[in-house]
């Protein structure tokens, strides 16, 4: 369905041109100093770099959570710069998924409800269809037996898997994940990465993953490395999934 929105297929999923971001008024921080980045449909891309180099800032701009100080962002052929806050909210709710490192879920809600939330907030109320879809995704991340658990009763890895189900419930074209495994042990990290990869393969959902860890970056088909607000290197196709053991 969503591929029909892109004519000819030569329009990239995301095109960032000379994107800049400065924070502060008196003490000015140049977090991004001119980023050029293109993401294709179905990309599986890692974003690495030392702490403070601007990874989260870039993710927030691409995720339409913040506005760049300069440059242009084009999502599926549409320049998002002039869009109103309402239109950006609309795009976030229909095309973008988020997975955060901390504070993953809303503690007042059960795992299933957390997954349902993005759809309920769009449609205005819960429906059987939403519930079924959320339950299917929860099953897909291996947590159908935890559907009615409060998020506070889940382990870190389980929470992150619920968060992934929540990000995918709206059928996004792009999921932005900010250090999704930053807080997890090795086993949970592997589970989470397996899930992200399988969603990428199965639905063609594009992923942009911020990570510190080489082991994760190595599982991505493309690794963009940032240093001090600029892209330092952009390596593609180093490892195709088929090459891995």
């Amino acid at each position: 369905m969503r591929f029909e929105m892109v004519d000819g297929g030569d329009v990239p999923l995301l095109q960032a041109t000379d994107v800049r971001k400065t924070y502060g008024e008196r003490v000015v921080t140049q977090a991004l100093k001119g980023i050029d980045l293109e993401l294709a449909e179905g990309a599986f891309c890692a974003l690495t770099g030392p702490s403070g180099c601007g990874k989260t800032t870039l993710l927030n701009l691409i995720g339409l959570l913040d506005r760049p100080s300069g440059g242009q962002l084009v999502l599926q052929g549409e320049d998002v710069g002039p869009l109103s806050d309402e239109a950006r909210t609309e795009l976030r709710g229909t095309r973008l998924g988020f997975v955060f490192q901390f504070h993953h879920l809303l503690p007042a809600f059960t795992a299933l409800e957390n997954v349902m939330l993005p759809l309920i907030s769009r449609r205005g109320r819960a429906t059987a269809e939403i519930r079924e879809k959320a339950a299917r995704l929860l099953d897909r991340v291996g947590l159908s037996d935890r559907a009615n658990y409060k998020s506070t009763d889940l382990s870190g890895g389980q929470k992150q898997r619920v968060a992934i189900a929540r990000a995918l419930v709206i059928d996004p074209v792009l999921v932005l994940a900010d250090e999704p495994t930053g807080n997890l042990d090795t086993e949970s990290t592997a589970q989470v990465m397996d899930l992200l990869e399988s969603f990428n393969h199965q639905y063609g959902t594009a992923f942009l993953l911020v990570t510190h860890e080489d082991s994760i970056a190595r599982r991505c088909r493309r690794v963009v490395h940032m240093v001090d607000g600029l892209i330092a290197s952009d390596q593609s196709g180093s490892l195709s999934p088929a090459d891995r053991t």
């Binding site: 989260t56 927030n60 995720g63 959570l65 913040d66 806050d85 309402e86 909210t89 609309e90 976030r92 709710g93 229909t94 998924g97 988020f98 955060f100 490192q101 901390f102 504070h103 809303l106 503690p107 007042a108 809600f109 939330l117 993005p118 309920i120 907030s121 769009r122 449609r123 205005g124 109320r125 819960a126 929540r166 990000a167 709206i170 900010d178 250090e179």
Partner: protein, 405 residues
């Protein structure tokens, strides 16, 4: 269930402690309002009822004799004062026609021709000042429910029968069937038999007011065929002023409402109402501040969650609504608690002290209107109190709120 209501309820349930505290606070506030309103309204109603229980809403009297100016020859004017003799009972000229006019006014529900005048009761050596009221029971009972005040005998005024107050009967040392000589000015008078004894719960009325037949009073005061007043009752007691003004316009007579006759009472009642309103306003203010501060704290506590909701596509107006709904729910549920508390307090208070006849010394007016009004005010206050926190929440920058760390 709508999304916003669902989230609002969850948040309130999730922060049980805060919710519980502010519900108690709102409940106490609304309780005070309900209790105070019930008490003051009850007291005022009973005072007014007591006043109007023995008095017409409007009394129409003959016009006062005023100085009349006669133009004289040339430039000289002479003013003449007609001093009416004291104690003279004057009749309304052509009162039957006027009664018809008054009765036909749409706001009038009852008219009674009466004669009221001074007299003295003689028994043995003693004499007691009286206010004699001549009535036709048929018409007078539409003005004042005199029969309900009867504690002994019958309300029978035929012939030389009289109905007196409890206090007068006691002072005269007599009772039902007793005889009393009533003497008016001009040496007119007669011996009357007591056919009934009333209790108006008023010392003054019980010891001085007596009822005789209209005809008897006409004889007693020497105004054959005349009446000294038309007593009028209408609908809303607080419209009596307007009704009096209309009657005065239409008849050219003096029409005085109970409100004019009880000016001091009304001033007292008004200032009582005013202080009650003041207290209520401050209580409402305290409730509003309480709800607002709880919600403001909640917005800060939930900043990251709001950020996540916004990031996952929740519209900012939905966030506004989530907090407005919380305010309304806190106000609404708090008002239910408060109505229960206020009603309980009011009933407790009403049962605390009772008159000898079993009625409450402090009557309370607990009405659905009071409950509805209290709930509406509390919900509105909750909504208003939530406006600023809700605006804060909806304007929060999601990128700031969810920034890692």
């Amino acid at each position: 269930m709508p999304f916003e209501l669902w989230v609002a309820l969850r948040y309130l349930r999730d922060q049980r402690f805060q919710t519980g505290l502010i519900l108690c606070g709102t409940g106490v506030g609304v309780g005070v309002i309900v209790f105070l309103s019930a008490l003051i309204t009850g007291l005022q109603e009973s005072i007014i009822e007591r006043t109007l229980g023995s008095q017409a809403q409007v009394i129409v009297r003959p016009i006062e004799e005023i100085p009349r100016v006669h133009p004289m020859d040339g430039e000289v004017l002479a003013a003449l004062t007609l001093e009416r003799p004291p104690q003279r009972v004057r009749s309304i000229e052509g009162w039957r026609a006027i009664e018809d006019v008054v009765r036909r006014s749409p706001d009038v529900s009852g008219v009674a021709p009466t004669i009221t005048g001074p007299a003295i009761a003689l028994r043995g050596q003693g004499s007691i000042a009286l206010s004699v009221r001549g009535i036709e029971l048929e018409s007078y009972r539409t003005i004042v429910d005199v029969e309900s005040r009867l504690v002994e005998g019958r309300f029978d005024l035929a012939g030389f029968q009289v109905v007196v107050g409890t206090e007068l009967a006691r002072t005269l040392g007599t009772g039902l069937g007793g005889r009393v000589r009533i003497q008016a000015a001009g040496d007119r008078g007669g011996v009357y038999t007591i056919s009934g004894i009333f209790d108006y719960s008023s010392q003054t009325l019980n010891e001085s007011l007596v009822f005789v037949s209209l005809r008897g009073a006409q004889t007693l005061f020497g105004i054959a065929g005349g009446v000294s007043a038309l007593e009028v009752t209408g609908g809303d007691i607080f419209e009596a002023d307007a009704m009096a003004a209309r009657i005065q316009d239409r008849t050219g007579l003096v029409a005085e409402s109970w409100m004019e006759q009880n000016g001091d009472l009304l001033v007292g009642l008004r200032s009582q109402s005013m202080s009650s309103v003041m207290i209520q306003v401050f209580v409402i203010l305290a409730v509003a501040l309480g709800i607002a501060s709880v919600l403001a704290v909640s917005v800060v506590q939930k900043a990251k969650e709001i950020g996540i909701l916004r990031a996952t596509g929740t519209r900012s107006r939905s966030v506004t609504r989530i907090f407005l709904i919380q305010g309304a729910i806190l106000g609404g549920v708090g008002s239910l608690l408060g109505i229960a508390l206020g009603a309980f307090l009011a009933l407790f208070f009403a049962n605390l002290a009772r008159n000898p006849d079993g009625s409450a010394t402090f009557p309370v007016a607990l009405t659905p209107l009071l409950y509805g009004r209290s709930a509406a005010v509390a919900i509105a206050v909750g909504l208003l109190a939530a406006v600023l926190p809700a605006r804060d929440a909806s304007q929060m920058d999601p990128a700031d709120a969810i920034r890692n760390g």
